[in-house]
């Protein structure tokens, strides 16, 4: 990142990734507004550290990692007691369930909030964001075997919750 031009190019790439960063953040924190705050913190940090990003690396993974680390910092700073972060048993905040056609989607979102956050992050990065296992493992700073195992357990738990005969209520 040695010239203004390349900095501006990366900045525009970050702008293009904002929708996905917002989506990922919503799987980390409780409300859309707080999720956007996390995105803003992550983007500001990323700009300060542009020299640490190598253009052969995926920009999205790099940003997800900064966002995830920013979230961890927040969790630590707040002593793990805050309701800002998704409680593992609460799906009521995801929105109005009034429209029939939204019930499916809300069920999936509600099910996600019930996953332990390790599994939720693995599912979010691989299944929602479409990252390769090795990139997702890198974002989470775990070996690929750990990522695979979290993903498998998360999927299994989701499948159990979303199964038609399953009891979500």
């Amino acid at each position: 990142m040695s010239t203004n031009e390349s900095t501006e190019t990366v900045q525009e790439q970050i702008v293009a990734l904002l929708p996905r960063l917002r989506r990922f953040a919503r799987n980390l924190v409780r409300t859309p507004h707080d999720a956007d705050d996390m995105v803003q913190i992550a983007v500001e940090r990323a700009l300060l550290r542009l020299d640490q990003w190598h253009s052969d690396a995926r920009l999205d993974s790099w940003l997800f990692k900064i966002l995830r680390n920013a979230w961890i910092d927040e969790v630590r700073a707040r002593g793990r007691r805050a309701k800002l972060f998704m409680p593992e048993e609460a799906g009521e905040h995801v929105g109005e369930a009034s429209m029939e056609r939204e019930i499916d989607r809300l069920s999936v979102e509600a099910a996600m909030t019930r996953l332990p956050h390790d599994q939720r992050l693995a599912v979010s990065l691989v299944l929602v964001e479409g990252l390769a296992y090795k990139d997702a493992a890198d974002v989470l700073d775990v070996p690929i075997g750990t990522l695979t195992s979290r993903l498998a357990r998360g999927r299994e738990a989701l499948a159990a919750m979303l199964r038609p005969e399953g009891d979500l209520s």
Partner: protein, 256 residues
């Protein structure tokens, strides 16, 4: 054939290597249960993708776009007043993350803005940050602020100084402009041994035919002019006043 669920999952996700793929595809041909489990994994993947896609169609808040471009939500888009940015950071989210640590957030925000404007990342002779996160003039800019008189327009300077004045705080402050096509202008005030940058704003691009520097302090961006008007005590220093202040090391009331 027994295939572990993790292996089937990896196959469904396109993560299996060629040898594993061959084994699983053989298993799929002979075992409907394997086919069913792979279909389940793929269906799960589709479900998860679709479930969270609504946010992708939402308009992205302008503050995030500005942050990605190294700007804060200043009214003119290109102009950043540090005090405004601080207030905005503190007030934007009364129950959100920012209000819980406004000082740290404001500091990182401002540094990000400044570095974004200057196109600088890492060590710079023009801008540095104090251990507490404040934005200070780096060696090159500090030397210009300490030594140059405002009439100095010699070629090759890293920065020119515009207006010098005594602020209501008793400190000396000076406006400055940095060289370059992405030039920035700002206001710095003497505090202790350093120059603390109070405002940094991007100057309009200079016409290609002109010199690197904009000609006069009166061309300072509105945010800089406003900061001067807000903080100035009395009249700007003339040449004799600048020389006297320089001889005293620009020492104001707060650092005598």
């Amino acid at each position: 054939m027994i295939v572990s669920d993790e292996t089937l999952m990896a196959y469904a996700d396109g993560e299996a290597d060629a040898a594993t793929r061959a084994i699983i595809e053989a298993a799929m041909r002979e075992d409907p249960e394997v086919r069913r489990r792979i279909a389940e994994h793929r269906a799960m993947r589709e479900t998860m993708q679709g479930a969270f896609s609504a946010v992708l169609d939402e308009p992205v808040p302008q503050r995030l776009i500005d942050a990605a471009r190294g700007r804060t939500a200043a009214p003119a888009g290109n102009v950043v007043d540090l005090a405004d940015a601080r207030r905005a950071a503190a007030s934007r989210s009364p129950v959100g993350i920012r209000s819980r640590r406004p000082a740290a957030m404001a500091a990182s925000l401002l540094v990000g803005v400044a570095l974004g404007y200057l196109g600088l990342h890492g060590a710079s002779p023009l801008v540095k940050t104090s251990p507490s996160g404040e934005l200070l003039a780096g060696a090159g800019l500090a030397a210009a602020l300490t030594n140059q008189l405002s009439e100095d327009r010699s070629p090759g300077l890293v920065a020119i100084t515009g207006l010098s004045f005594r602020a209501k705080t008793g400190d000396y402050c000076r406006t400055f402009s940095l060289a370059g096509t992405h030039s920035s202008s700002g206001l710095a005030c003497r505090e202790g041994d350093g120059w603390k940058i109070k405002v940094l704003a991007q100057s309009p691009p200079a016409p290609a035919s002109s010199s690197n520097f904009r000609p006069a302090a009166s061309d300072d961006p509105p945010a800089v002019r406003a900061a001067v008007e807000e903080s100035i005590d009395g009249e700007p220093l003339d040449r004799a006043g600048e020389i006297t202040a320089r001889q005293a090391g620009w020492a104001g009331k707060s650092n005598r």
